[in-house]
Symmetry: C2
Subunit: 104 residues, 2 copies
């Protein structure tokens, strides 16, 4: 049985993206972070909706027009298409695990 | 910030389904169980794919042709359309939390 929280890859050298499912306009991926953030001058600006759930660790998320919030495990947020956003911080020294559902 | 694991509704009297997102052929829901199972003679038989992730608790899942497995937090499985399946058990006395992504 595959497990999203066991045998995590090290993200110390860069975030690790693992595609879990892609079909019918949906793409589910796991993202493992360890200290990374999005450059302040390079926010994400996507053409599709993305639903995000934090599974482990902690992170800061900035959404254009809404400001910055801290995410803890279980927290979830819908990032609408064209809403600029960025990860302001993730914990260093231990993995932060995200589940992202991209909806075409 | 909404959280999938905080302030859980009691499922002692029946499973609790909460829709989190529905758009573009995708429906994401949280299911809280507490001791429930699917009747052996009434397995689910769905016309769409369902991706399931166990977030908390423990459960048994039977898939036609694959037998029964135990799910722990972080375990995930794709249940293809028309694959008969059932939940054989969930823990009594504490909540089991599922994330289900239904793909049209």
């Amino acid at each position: 049985m595959p497990n999203l929280l066991a045998d995590l890859p090290s993200a110390a050298g860069g975030e690790v993206f693992t595609e879990l499912l892609a079909r019918g306009g949906v793409r589910i991926e796991r993202i493992v972070s360890e200290g990374q953030s999005t450059p302040a001058d390079q926010p994400y600006d996507q053409d599709h909706d993305e639903w995000v759930l934090l599974l482990a660790g902690a992170a800061g998320l900035w959404l254009d027009g809404e400001g910055e919030t801290t995410l803890k495990p279980g927290d979830h947020v819908l990032i609408p298409a064209r809403r600029r956003h960025r990860v302001t911080w993730t914990e260093a020294g231990r993995p932060t695990v995200w589940l992202a559902v991209h909806v075409a």
